[in-house]
Amino acid sequence: MHLEYFPVIRRKYSSFAAHFYALAFAAILLSTWSLNSTAGNLAYITNQGSDTVSVLDTQKKQITHTVAVGKAPVGVAIAAKQQRVYISNANSQTVSVINSTTQQKIQEIPVRIQAVGIALSRDENTLYVADWGGEQVLAIDTAHPEKQKAFKAGKTPSGILVSADNKKLFIANRDSNDVTVVETKTLKTLAQVPVGLHPFALTLSPDGRTVFVVNVVSNSLTLLDVDSYQSSTVKTGQHPYGVAISPDGSWAYVSNNHAESVSVIDLSNGKTIKTITVGEFPEGIEYDKATNQVVVANWGSDTVSLIDAQSNTVTSTITSPKLCRSFGQFILEAK
């Protein structure tokens, strides 16, 4: 290397160093600020009627951000490691990607399907998106979202989730009344398990052993063993649309879409111990471990109900713009 190049390099280096320190300082400021401003877990509430996502701090019981996304957002998938939140948009037929530290939309992925059910592989490398208008699910490479592969599901695939060991994808097929189990490695169907009428949303037990599926028309909840596919059924309220399980696996909370209520079900005996009145057409529901609250999006009332899981009473009702849904697992745990 010739001597005359050195000044250039030195100048570049010192400029780089100055930027580095400035950035580091800004990062420290930012992280301090964000620790203070968002202390709790964040619930991502999709507002189908206003094409936005509300970011709800479950500790503060406040909406801290509103993020513009695609048209008719429905489902949520949380990528905690990537610090990304993926939103399925039914009408724009896209997936919006939100940066969960800045709460800004950073990308819009075309999927060309009515995107509803959405879930991530445990390593967050693959995003699965169910096609409401077709009998298929897409596997999308999160590092290269243009790489998409379709594979077979039942009729009107709705809720989807990945098993704790990352080996299986469970798909609730609303119009074929069954659950398709897909091997994530090969994208081949392993099993097609009949459940109740119109299975819609599903969730996994905290121990990863049981898949819970709500059957909209049967007014029931199916408990499905992840390995044997043996199942049992318990009664819910009218038109169940969502289910959440307490961290100890003892209680199921079911949103009854046509009864303006949440059923609290004792999973040791299948009995409903309480029916809690919430807003109209409650849909997305999840248990927030940090605050021991159950978060419910009320599509018909444009509100979110926060239920205290100790007393099983509604402690807050928060307004969210139009037609809120939050389909899927929508709570990001604070670090």
């Binding site: 009515q114 009998e135 790489k147 592969k149 379709a150 028309v217």
Partner: protein
């Protein structure tokens, strides 16, 4: 997984259209109200009579009621509403709550002609003295759930069908209830 995805580029399977019965992914919501100068009990009596829609809706020719088992094997009441314009609506009674003056029913597209699906109306009567407020609200979706719906079965067509049934219906309900009868 990443390798598989890497090798196979964008290769969407051909989209398979679904039959009627399924519905659009994003349900729609509607609400209509009418204020009527008549006692709530009188208005409720008209609305709760599930097999007599023609008594209050000027666009209805006749209503036929039948009892049968529903999809869960439970006893249920269904009605076939024949419209004067030739349309047919097949509906299932879900509840008729006298204390709350609230009627809930379900519209079944498979045996009907109006192009909307997953339609669950609730009709409520409130008010006091000689004034009633009737509220009709509910959720519905378009009839064609495919990713590119036919124009006659899209969201707009579904909304139009609801308006064309309820707008004149609530108007004639008001007329009938306010008449001396």
């Amino acid at each position: 997984m990443k390798k598989i995805l890497g090798i196979i580029a964008v290769s969407l399977l051909p989209l398979i259209p679904l039959t009627a019965g399924a519905h659009g992914a994003a349900a729609l919501r509607f609400e209509k109200t009418v204020t009527i100068k008549a006692a709530p009990a009188k208005v409720w009596a008209l609305l709760k009579d599930f097999g007599n829609v023609q008594a209050w809706h000027s666009g209805v020719e006749s209503t036929t009621v039948e009892q049968k088992k529903d999809e869960n094997g439970d006893d249920a009441t269904y009605r076939t509403v024949k419209l004067k314009n030739g349309g047919v609506m097949y509906e299932k009674l879900r509840s008729a709550d006298d204390a709350g003056m609230r009627l809930k029913y379900e519209y079944i597209l498979d045996k009907s002609t109006l192009q909307l699906a997953n339609f669950y109306p609730t009709i409520t009567v409130t008010g006091s003295g000689n004034e009633s407020v009737v509220t009709v609200k509910g959720s519905y979706t378009r009839a064609d759930s495919s990713n590119i719906p036919k124009p006659e079965q899209n969201d707009d067509a579904a909304t139009k069908a609801i308006n064309e049934f309820f707008d004149p219906g609530l108007e004639s309900l008001k007329k009938v209830a306010e008449s001396g009868k």
